[in-house]
């Protein structure tokens, strides 16, 4: 066979895919993520620290809320990331169902717990703000209830992904739930406009000028960008770990099959040789 014909056969498999699809290759993803993730982590930690310290010690108190307004520098980014994280989860789920990318399954499974954590942070800080301002830890307001539903959707996704012996079935079920749950995102966003809620309407919008003092807006921007970088870094780190864990399982299975072929019963002893 001539070298040109070998190239003609080999090229489709080895040829780099265009666009984002090329990162669906686990090896390529691991290489790219290991370069990006440390910088993203450092950038996120520094920006978040600046935003939180600025908000806690240097931003002015609100004339009505007093110092309780400082909770906003945590609550608002957490709320944005709870919704944005779910959107990412849904996009990964769509990629999983349409293109059957294993990496999309792993990314969705990793985004779930982080998104649930940020949603819990949003709900907890909302309660901590609500008690001194509204006089109640919780009210069944449309905004609060829809965010609580988002938290349950995250928990449902986490549970479904881990509920099956066959991980692929878990990923499929989780992906369907994630896509169905997307309907809750516009409900969260517009709940304060559609219903008469105790929760205040949006102060910052993409189209209009923010109705917030600039001295409060800057620390909020730092905190929001910082937390977004931290979220992305956590999702990348988790997905890297998941890719490596999948590779470990594959290697263990291959070793077990090889050991079983040579010495019957040796596969059981193999697991104990690998440090946990």
């Amino acid at each position: 066979m001539s070298p040109s014909s070998v190239k003609a056969i080999a090229e489709p498999r080895g040829a780099p895919r265009r666009g984002w699809h090329r990162f669906a290759n686990p090896g390529r993803f691991l290489r790219a993520a290991s370069k990006v993730q440390p910088w993203l982590t450092a950038f996120g930690v520094v920006l978040t620290a600046v935003g939180l310290i600025w908000g806690l010690f240097f931003a002015p108190a609100d004339w009505q809320q007093g110092d309780a307004v400082r909770i906003m520098y945590i609550h608002v980014p957490a709320a944005w990331l709870a919704s944005a994280g779910y959107l990412m989860l849904a996009l990964c789920s769509a990629a999983s169902l349409v293109w059957r990318h294993p990496l999309a399954d792993l990314a969705a499974a990793e985004i779930g717990p982080i998104g649930a954590g940020f949603t819990a942070l949003c709900l907890a800080t909302g309660s901590l703000w609500g008690k001194p301002m509204w006089g109640a830890w919780w009210v069944w307001d449309a905004r609060l209830t829809s965010v609580l539903v988002l938290f349950f959707l995250y928990l449902g996704h986490i549970t479904l992904v881990r509920a099956f012996d066959d991980p692929t079935r878990g990923y499929r079920a989780g992906a369907i739930l994630a896509l169905l749950g997307v309907v809750n995102l516009p409900i969260i966003k517009f709940s304060v406009d559609w219903w008469n809620t105790l929760h205040q309407p949006a102060t910052i919008s993409l189209t209009g000028a923010p109705s917030m003092y600039i001295g409060m807006l800057w620390p909020l921007a730092f905190s929001a960008v910082g937390y977004a970088c931290v979220f992305a870094a956590l999702a990348l780190a988790g997905t890297r770990a998941a890719v490596m864990e999948r590779r470990i399982r594959a290697l263990l299975l291959a070793e077990a099959a090889r050991a079983e072929d040579s010495v019957p019963g040796a596969a059981d002893a193999l697991e104990t040789q690998v440090p946990a």
Partner: protein, 52 residues
């Protein structure tokens, strides 16, 4: 500072929640790297033993 306990609790959570996820991810990565290294060595030795 007014409402100090509520603010302190919020900021504590703001640090603890991402830190817990970060620590968990760091430990998983470390464990996975160690196991992969151990398995690669084991596989290499097994293959070498199979093909002298």
């Amino acid at each position: 500072m007014t409402h100090l306990p509520f603010i302190a609790a919020s900021y504590a959570l703001a640090v603890l929640v991402p830190a817990a996820f970060g620590l968990n991810a760091y430990q998983r990565l470390r464990r996975a790297r160690r196991r992969l290294a151990a398995l690669s060595g084991h596989g290499h030795k097994a293959r070498s033993a199979g093909n002298p």
